[in-house]
Every structure is written in structure tokens, then in C-alpha cells.
């Protein structure tokens, strides 16, 4: 007999965009379409919470980075906005009217107003991942050692922007924010503390309270930098599909929620519904002794995940919870 029910919160918005017949570009540029996609998902699936789009280009675009926006693919930053100490020194921290930020805040506000039967979480990028998009990801990896002062200043500017963005997401009525910091997973635990956690913590301390939760997502963590995630102070930690969840949860205090980690591509998108059900049931069985576990996808579900697979995921959760 199971002792507690498990909540299910897959990170997904693309299935909603597809359900309302819009393109990815429509949704990432128009807050109304974005909202309609999230609302549709809340009507179709019994997710314990909703999330807005995990778009890791909004903040970089606000700083002035060029963004490639194909019709049905996730936007990507290209080029390099800053490349030296002078460029970083003169980089202006944008306000919340820049780029597509107002559309994302609109989507957050509309979702919070219209979806009242479950919490809605906004989304933002983490400081190190944002800095990597502005400075070039390969270059920042070396510059943390070669030019630490320059990178420290860049991280400070990124953090200041993310802080005000999260504050606005909070004021829009969202229950929290999923902060995606995948680039920190490319660092050692010690470097992750120095170049990511230190800055994530500033955001957490500024916005997290009883009404607003930070969910720190790091799908690059294969188990080597869990300590740095815990030290952020985020009330919930979200792990990618390469993490060994039973091992991970043993390293996390039981007052912190642990979320993860069904493979969004290899299982949700590419496997059949029977396999999705089996993998979900297996993960639930492995984690059944932990009341702080929330079952989720390992990352944002990509476009064109079969509807039957999402249903199979929720059915496996239902079957597990029926045994409680």
C-alpha cells in the first residue's frame, strides 16, 4: 500500500500550442496565444500545476542579443553580444519593456487570472545560462578562469535583470517561477556554486516567500552538482532525464521538493504509449518512499509529442495514486 499521492507536473507548453492550432512563433511573440495554449492544456490534462513557455531567449533578446525565430521551432540566440571587459562594462541592464518581455508578462497575468484550479508557474533563464548566451557559451566557460572579474560583472547584470523579471512575474499573480539554468550543469559542483548558485540565491532571496516558489531546473546536472542546486535555497529542484533520481533525492533535504525526470525526447516523444506508462510507473515505484517527490518530464516537452503518450504518463500516475 502506498502512503502518499504523487503530484504530476510535466513541463510542457508545445502540446498546448499544437492543440490550439498555432505555431511556436505565434506563441512566443503573442502573450494572448501563449495564454490560450497554457489554458487549453489545463483543460485537457490533470497536471497539478501549469507552466508558461520555457523560452531561454527572452531575457537575452531584452539585452539586445539577436534571436533566430523559426515558425515551429524553439527560438535560439545566435552571435555574441559582448566579448570583452569593455563590452560588459557598457552593457545596459534592460527594463521590462524590452523585446518580448511584455508579451511574456501578459501571458503570466492572463494565466494567473484564468487558471484558478491549480498554480501557474512562470519561466525564466538562470544567471549563468543567460550570461553564456550573451558572451558565447564556449567563451564564458574559459573566461570564468581567465577573466573572472569580467564574468562576475556580467553575472551581476544578468542577475539584476532576472530579479526584476521574476518580481514582475510574481506581481502578475504567478505562484512561482521555473528558473532554467542548464549551463551550470556543464560546470563542476564547486564552479556551479561560484558562478551560478551565488547569483541564483540572490534572486531566490529577493522573490521567494510563502506565496511564490522558485523551482530551479538544471537538466545538465547528471548528479555531479546537486549540492550547488540545494544551496540556492530554491524550494523545489527540477532534474533532467540523465539524473539518477533515487541517488539525487538522497542528497536533497526532505523539505525541498524534487521534480523529474521522464526523458522528454527518448520517451515522451519517441517511445510508444506503453513504454511511457512503463517508464513512469517504474520511476514512481523507485521514488515511492519520498513524500517530497513530484513526477515530471526531464525538461520541456518538445514539439510534436504524441497526445497518447502524455495521456499514458498521467494514466500511470493515476494508477499509482489509486493504490494509496
Amino acid at each position: 500500500m502506498r502512503t502518499h499521492r504523487v503530484a504530476a507536473v510535466p513541463i510542457m507548453t508545445h502540446p498546448g500550442i499544437e492543440l490550439i492550432g498555432k505555431t511556436v512563433r505565434d506563441a512566443v511573440t503573442d502573450g494572448q496565444v501563449h495564454f490560450q495554449a497554457v489554458k487549453k492544456l489545463s483543460e485537457v490534462y490533470p497536471s497539478a500545476a501549469c507552466t508558461t513557455i520555457m523560452d531561454l531567449t527572452v531575457e537575452a533578446e531584452a539585452f539586445g542579443a539577436p534571436v533566430n525565430m523559426p515558425e515551429n521551432e524553439i527560438p535560439t540566440v545566435y552571435g555574441r553580444l559582448v566579448g570583452d571587459a569593455d563590452g560588459v562594462a557598457s552593457l545596459q541592464v534592460p527594463d521590462l519593456t524590452a523585446g518580448r518581455v511584455p508579451q511574456y508578462l501578459l501571458a503570466n497575468r492572463l494565466c494567473a487570472q484564468a487558471i484558478t484550479d491549480r498554480p501557474v508557474f512562470g519561466g525564466c533563464i538562470g544567471p549563468f545560462s543567460l550570461a553564456g548566451r550573451l558572451y558565447d557559451m564556449s567563451e564564458i566557460m574559459m573566461a570564468i578562469y581567465i577573466e573572472p572579474d569580467t564574468i562576475s560583472l556580467l553575472l551581476d547584470k544578468c542577475t539584476r535583470f532576472i530579479m526584476q523579471y521574476c518580481q514582475a512575474i510574481k506581481e502578475a499573480g504567478s505562484a512561482g517561477v521555473v528558473m532554467a539554468e542548464p549551463a551550470a550543469g556543464l560546470l563542476s559542483d564547486e564552479d556551479s556554486v561560484l558562478f551560478s548558485t551565488k547569483y541564483v540565491k540572490r534572486v531566490v532571496e529577493a522573490v521567494q516567500d510563502d506565496s511564490f516558489t522558485v523551482i530551479l531546473h538544471n537538466c545538465g546536472n547528471t548528479g555531479h552538482c546537486t549540492r550547488s542546486m540545494v544551496e540556492s535555497g530554491a524550494r523545489a529542484l527540477h532534474f533532467g532525464n540523465r539524473a539518477d533520481m533515487p541517488r539525487i533525492i538522497a542528497e536533497v533535504p526532505d523539505y525541498v521538493v524534487v521534480m523529474g525526470n521522464i526523458d522528454p525526447v527518448g520517451v515522451f516523444k519517441q517511445a510508444d504509449s506503453q513504454e511511457v506508462g512503463l517508464r513512469t510507473s517504474e520511476l514512481l515505484r523507485q521514488m515511492s518512499g519520498h513524500s517530497n517527490f513530484v513526477v515530471s518530464s526531464g525538461c520541456d516537452l518538445p514539439p510534436l509529442v504524441p497526445e497518447s503518450n502524455i495521456k499514458a504518463f498521467f494514466q500511470a500516475v493515476d494508477e499509482f495514486n489509486e493504490q494509496v
Binding site: 533566430n68 566557460m141 578562469y145 556543464l186 564552479d191 527518448g266 519517441q270 514539439p303
Partner: protein, 225 residues
Amino acid sequence: MSEILEKLFECVEFGKINAASPYPPQLRGQDGASEYTQKALAEGFSPAEIMDTALIPAMTKVGQKFSENKIFVPQMLLSAKAMNAALVYIKPYFSSGEIRRKGTFIMGTVNGDLHDIGKNLVCMMVEGAGWDVIDLGVDVGPEKFVESVRQHPDAYVGLSALLTTTMPNMKTIIDAVRAVSPSTRFIVGGAPVSADFAASIGADAYADNPQQDVEALDRFLQERA
């Protein structure tokens, strides 16, 4: 190994690029890979000896440490940069035939995808392992791969993708290249790519990390022999 080649090995292993580089802290103020390579050549070590005794073994060790989670992306990139600082002085001997290269590897991130960190790591590691690398860059379509294979018919090809939406382009590229060069062998990799997916699109190998690219290429070479 002579002291100077040991020093060069250490510089590449720990990412000491040149004397001015502040990294790693334990080698601060000392010469780096750039200076030690020049000294080694000046003292009469052959370029082949420098490659085979110091540079290639050092990068092999770096690849092993990376695959064992003993070092991470920043340290690996700095080692590759130190290797490149050494290669500045060694590369002139490549064209003379004094140093035998293992073969040619064509690498690119597939069309629609602008991510380059994985591709860059693979290029650096493979070059460090003794291969000529042709880096086609990011957002590379079938035509460019076909053209490059026409120019280098014995080359192996590596494809990288970070987006689920661009993964299918790997198959398009493999099919296009095989239409003109049926025996060309491919290695694919990238965060959303799996061994099953690699097999399903006809790739010859899947690499989970750059060291596995090097191992796959060495395997191809043995099979060809």
C-alpha cells in the same frame, strides 16, 4: 619522457595556454604550452615526437578525465586551447608530411541548429587526437556536407544537434551524403540524441561525449585497415 615534454604534457593536461595565462593557479607565472612547444622544437625534438609523446597523450588523458566526470567543460576547453597554442608551431609540419595524420574528420551542427559548444569540444578533442578536422560550423545543410565529402572522399563525418526539431535533419544529411558516397561513415551526438536514434537513422556510431568520438574514429580506422 624528457623534462620539457613532460612540462608540455602538463600544460595541455591542465590548460596552461601560455605564460600570460593566469590559469591554472598552480602553474601561474610559468611558461605554457606555447612557450614549451617553441623550446622543444628549438632543442631539436621532432614535431612528430612532440605530438606523439606529449600533445596526443595529454589530450587522451583529458578526454578520459572528462568522461569520468573528473573534469568538466571549462577545464576541457582550456586544455584544448593549450593544445591549439602548441599546434600553432606544429601545424606547418603537417603539410610537409613529416607528421602523419590519422585522417580527416568533417564536423558540423546540422541545419536549423545554432548550438556550437558540443561541436567545438568534439573538433578540439579530435584534432588533439591526431586528426585533420574540417569544422563546417553551425546551421549546416546537406549540400555543404556533400561538397566537403566530395573534396575529402576518405573523410569521416560528425553531426551534432541540440534541438529535438533539428534531429531529423541528421538523417537528411546522411542520406544526401550516402547518395554520392555510400561508404562514408557517420558519428552523431548531442543532448537529445540517443544510441537508438543514431541506429535508426543509419549512423555508424553514437558519441555521448567527445572522447567517444575519438574512440569511434580509431575503431573506424582499425576496421578500414
